[in-house]
């Protein structure tokens, strides 16, 4: 029997889970192999040390405390201390936040598109020079040479718009007075078309 085989049976030898024949073989090996004998001695002394540890006794009043605690827990089993690790609520909160964001995202996107569309409607393509102080009132018909730029509404002349709001008919009256009278037009009546 070689040393490896003997050493693999240390546990069974200690637990007395080997056959009588195996025990005799091992005893014979120990008698002739000092290394295995010493190794087994260390193995056995380790387990003796473990087995010699004093038994811990329950503290005084253990039974009474347990009975009281058990009855409290039985009345409210949901209040039993949870083995739930501390990171679970944090992870659950983060997961909820992600889900909430994912749920809201489809609603946010159209809104963003709408906002972008609104901005596009209020932008006018103008030459960059039109925004410079040297030309405070640029031509509205100037060709766009660069990308769309949002410009202030102040640069437009709204005089006529204001007049129209106050008296929608007045501008047309003025134009009608300036223009040569059309033969087909009679009196003060005018037709306003938009």
């Amino acid at each position: 029997m070689n040393c490896g085989r003997v050493r693999s049976l240390f546990g069974a030898y200690w637990d007395d889970e080997i056959t009588q024949a195996e025990r005799e073989w091992m005893d014979a090996h120990f008698a002739s192999c000092t290394a295995c004998r010493e190794r087994y001695d260390e193995y056995a002394r380790t387990l003796e040390l473990v087995g010699s540890l004093p038994r811990e006794e329950a503290s005084a009043g253990f039974v009474e405390r347990v009975v009281a605690r058990a009855h409290r827990a039985a009345e409210a089993p949901d209040r039993l201390p949870s083995a739930q690790p501390g990171w679970v609520p944090v992870a659950a909160g983060a997961a909820l936040a992600v889900l909430a964001f994912a749920a809201v995202l489809p609603w946010l996107k159209p809104s963003d598109r709408g906002r972008i569309a609104t901005r596009a409607a209020t932008t006018v393509s103008v030459p960059t020079a039109a925004l410079e102080p040297a030309s405070p009132v640029p031509s509205r018909r100037a060709p766009a040479k660069s990308g769309a730029t949002q410009i202030s509404d102040e640069i437009f002349d709204h005089t006529e718009d204001v007049e129209f709001i106050l008296d929608p008919v007045a501008p047309h009256r003025a134009r009608a007075r300036q223009a040569p009278p059309a033969a087909a037009v009679q009196g003060e009546r005018a037709v306003i078309t938009f």
Binding site: E42, T46, L53, E56, V67, A70, A74
Partner: protein
Amino acid sequence: MAPDREPGLPSVVSLSDEDLMARVAEDDERAFPELVRRFQGRVTNLVSRILNDRECADDLAQEVFVRVFVHRRNYRRGSKFSTWLFTIAANLAKNEIRRRVRKRNWFSLDALQELVNDSAIQLADPTEGRESRMEREQLRDTVGRAIAAVPEKYRLSLVLRDIEGLSYEEIAQVLGIPGGTVRSRINRARGMLKRKLQPLLRREGTS
């Protein structure tokens, strides 16, 4: 607490563990305290050796019995009570170990090495007259720490076998693993423990 013997009722003290647990499940108020009284030492010792923490062990041992009481109707009649009890104890101890590992509040192997190196403690060897040089408490503390430094899955098997004296078959039931796995885990655990305690096992002429 209700007295053990009431007129017309048999004593619960003479009942087997399994019959006693059956009484607990039937809400016999005398049964549960008796059950706790019988097993309080074993459960406290078991969790104390697994955790190597006496104070925490007391609280955890209480929790084991609380679980037994709360889940008393889940106990299957006919099955061995101590196996069920140790299963609960092992699971709670396992949870506690994992909680501690998460909190990084666990025993440091370096601390053990330091203790072993710095101290002059050696295994008692009456033939060589070393026992007088050894502080018994310190030795026990070191052995307890060495056990606690064995990885959890091996440690549970080791404590159930070499401290609680359970059979391999019972350990397999408690841990829910095959008997062969129990054997290999115990062998590995013993090997690890032997290596950890090697400095204490030195004999004259080999150190």
